[in-house]
Amino acid sequence: MTDTANRSTSGPGGLHTGGSGGHAALPAAAEPGPEPLIFEYSRPGRGGAWLPEPDVPVRPVEDLVPRELLRREPPALPEVAEVDLVRHYTRLSQMNHAVDTGFYPLGSCTMKYNPKVNERVAELPGFSRLHPYVPDELAQGALRLMYDLERALCEIGGMARATLQPAAGAHGELTGILLIRAYHESRGEGHRHKVIVPDSAHGTNPATAAMAGYKVVEVASDERGGVDLAELERVLDEDVAALMLTNPNTLGLFDENIHRIAEMVHEAGGLLYYDGANANAILGISRPGDMGFDVVHFNLHKTFSTPHGGGGPGSGPVGVTEKLVPFLPAPLVERDPETGRYYLDENRPQAIGRMRSFYGNFAILVRAYAYIRALGPEGLRQVSEDAVLNANYVMRQLAEYFRLPYDRVCKHEFVLSASNLRERTGVRALDVAKRLLDFGIHPPTIYFPLIVEEALMIEPTETESKETLDRFVAVMKRIAEEAEREPDLVKEAPHTTPVRRLDEALAARRPVLRWRPEGAA
């Protein structure tokens, strides 16, 4: 099923940088080709030279490890000089668009600025050199940070207690749904086997419910983008364990019926789960707990400014109301009121168990804690106000060029549809996205939520200036015009990126999932 990766050959004239580009010779302009893989720099016997000689008496390895357990063939890791290593990953980094290089209005992802001070404090040796199994007495600073972060998140979410264990949003969701299950079981309602999710929900919501052993029931959205109350009424019964919701929802719209929805679910004996991916709209403005949610997860890598790392690490703490506290996974950090000492409390007999090793993505918690402390209560509220202001400012202007399926005030993000363009010019949301790349702007999330065709989901975040937003609007407008005048320019975009549009179908049809040396099977 896997296949050999093409490796460009390079004769002396075939010029290394063009490696993976497969250029036999450089074009006249000699634009350097895309950077090859690290393996192509490898030469037997090179590199790997930073290790000391043993300072203890050395015994034959075979005396220590049974021969049959020893590795017969070394792994084909690359053997490269340090300078080539540094150049390779430096060049790779330059092939990325990132918040640090430009605007990134990727809806649902909250690609705000990641403060550098957070990196600085997370790297302090007092945090980074701490083994998770050190005695509590020797890690009071770390425990206090976790304790205070938990309290801050609970205050923001309107919850009683929280676990910091989950490593990402989806992991938080799973934690939350298992908490809900434990709650029902503790009340002898283990029969509840359904979880309701709106049709606008993120894929992790149904996937999570399924992973927790639940049957997923979809509920449709109404014409204002919220949960259709009649539909909800219809699917609510005594088998329902929970409704998973994000509010504002994935359309960027605040569900005005949230109070009624909560009542309905609770009346049916179910609980309400809050997917905090969109919490950037509500900091200090409205709390999920006050909306009626029983369980909340936050994405620290969205709302609380920790860097997304090209796909993680994240952190997805889960807060709960009083009645769910007993089920939170062990350990929690507690504070002895007498001595003021912090400690890890493993003694939680009703806990759902453990969601991961150790206590959570601690270095991410440090960053989020630093962020909350840097902003304070007024700052956090300002974050949400400006995030919402930015979104509405852009939405109002773009509504002239793209279809706005739900024409109401949005929160921190909004969803446009390129269906108008598509009908007239054949230019799709995907094409608009790719054309944005030529202008150094990361595209919005596209084709999500699923209930809007040709969706363009735009989340500017509060950290972008008016000038950046103005430029984005100008570029979007220009692309809309190009679509009319010169549709192929848009359909063939991008034109200026390190590689052009990639054949994703081929990748899936004939998967090449690892590098192999030339000539290998």
Binding site: W50, E68, N96, H131, P135, A207, G213, I258
Partner: protein, 450 residues
């Protein structure tokens, strides 16, 4: 002054509100019903300026004196050396502040690095394909069990009692959700490895989807993996191996002795211990099972000009396409940590990795022998081990962990944390960073102290 992370001046806000046609920011929140609004400021401490923030965090960091002590702690996180190139390169803003590479044309840096990572993990584990990373070793092992259940179309999961107790706890939590039966195999108390007779019992019936093995196991001991593999295979179950990637510089690639899925935690590959995270989980399997694998996968393809490029592929396994029928709910993984691991492995190369493994092995055995020679001290298990071993001390009233701590050394964890019957038994892990002076220093502390 304003807030550093927010660019707007009041003039900006006014201009923008005018453009929208509102006169107060509150109008943008009119859709939030009164009864769910927060009508007071959040009860949080006031904002700190950057200098105050740094001073505060430095104070908290300084309140963790353990971070400055000599670390013999084990149990899944280890004090290995981090080559300077690793944080330097993985810390570059273009890597750190990018999202998941949904737009491949401007994400070739991340995509290429993940493709390299997949290749390296496949090489290390001796399997065909690897994914782009999981959260950690424990969730990787658990997801492996769930995948095996899918592949094998059987329900029961057998886990050896020598697997890290926290990993087994995570497995239990997830299995509870899916109502999967889990059988735990007893430990041979003399050897510190699996009780083979009990394994045989656990395998009875044709319902075992997989057997989860940790090599080196939680006690540091080396399991007889060939024999285990033979028995697992004989019953048609999948063999899932969780492993310390450093050990693979020296120990046989699990794929070579029959593992169908190999997972592990990547912290040892150049990541700071960081009180337990973030690290990353790795996950490799056989090519024929790739469409059941959880998580993201990067594949090679070509662009419209025929140039090689990389994309996220086989996405129909994933939650954003398959929703409730996805192979897992995982979305964000631990990409940046996996990048650090990639740089680490590239910095070491095959000889460097072997050298690290050998240094751990030799130093651990030197220390074990010296400790065993101390009056009252004893190695708990007899099986061969890699870089970690379990000790106990029967000197009355003598607390070896406390005495070591006094002298600046951290040993443990105490197995009593998970197994009441083993209270007082301590794990001791020895990485290549520990110098002979430190090894002898620990021994001396125990030799003389009272």
């Amino acid at each position: 002054m304003g807030i550093s992370y927010i660019p707007h001046t009041d003039a900006d806000r006014r201009a923008m509100m005018a453009a929208i046609g509102i006169s107060s920011i509150d109008e943008l929140f009119a859709d939030i019903p009164e009864e769910v609004r927060l009508r007071r400021p959040l009860r949080l401490p006031p904002a700190l300026s950057e200098p105050e923030l740094v001073a505060h965090l430095e104070e908290l960091a300084a309140a963790n004196p353990a971070s400055g002590m000599v670390c013999f702690l084990g149990g899944g996180v280890y004090d290995h050396f981090i080559p300077s190139v690793v944080p330097y390169l993985a810390g570059r803003g273009e890597f750190a502040t990018a999202y998941t590479p949904y737009q491949p044309e401007v994400s070739q840096g991340t995509l290429r690095a993940i493709f390299e990572f997949q290749t390296m993990i496949a090489e290390l584990t001796g399997l065909d394909v690897a994914n782009a990373s999981m959260y950690d070793g424990a969730t990787a092992l658990t997801e492996a069990a769930l995948m095996a259940v899918n592949v094998a179309r059987r329900e029961r999961v057998v886990v050896l009692g020598t697997v890290h107790p926290e990993y087994r706890q995570v497995l239990a939590t997830y299995a509870e959700g899916q109502r999967l039966p889990v059988t735990t195999v007893a430990v041979d108390g003399r050897l510190g490895t699996t009780d083979m007779a009990d394994l045989e019992r656990a395998l009875e019936g044709e319902d075992v989807a997989c057997v989860l093995v940790q090599q080196p196991n939680f006690y540091g001991c080396l399991e007889p993996v060939h024999e285990i593999a033979a028995r697992v295979k004989a019953r048609g179950a999948l063999l899932v191996v969780s492993t310390d990637p450093i050990s693979l510089g020296l120990l046989e690639a699990p794929g070579r002795y029959g593992a169908d899925i190999v997972v592990g935690d990547g912290q040892a590959l150049g990541l700071p211990m960081a009180f337990g995270g973030p690290h990353f989980g790795f996950f490799a399997c056989r090519a024929e099972h790739v469409r059941r694998m959880p998580g993201r996968i990067v594949g090679q393809t070509v662009d419209r000009e025929g140039r090689t490029g990389y994309v996220l592929t086989l996405q129909t396994r994933e939650q954003h396409i398959r929703r409730d029928r996805a192979t897992s709910n995982i979305c964000t993984n631990h990409s940046l940590m996996a990048l650090a691991g990639t740089v680490y492995l590239a910095a070491l190369g095959p000889r460097g990795l072997r050298r690290v493994a050998e240094l751990c092995l030799q130093k651990a055995h030197y220390l074990a022998e010296r400790i065993a020679g101390l009056p009252g001290f004893d190695l708990v298990f007899e099986a061969p081990f890699f870089k970690e071993f379990v000790i106990r001390c029967d000197r009355p009233g003598f607390d070896p962990a406390a005495v070591a701590r006094e002298a600046g050394y951290l040993v443990g964890p105490d197995l009593g944390r998970w197994e009441a019957g083993r209270r007082g038994q301590l794990l001791v892990a020895v990485t290549e960073q520990r110098t002979r002076r430190e090894l002898d220093g620990l021994v001396a502390a125990w030799g003389v102290a009272r």
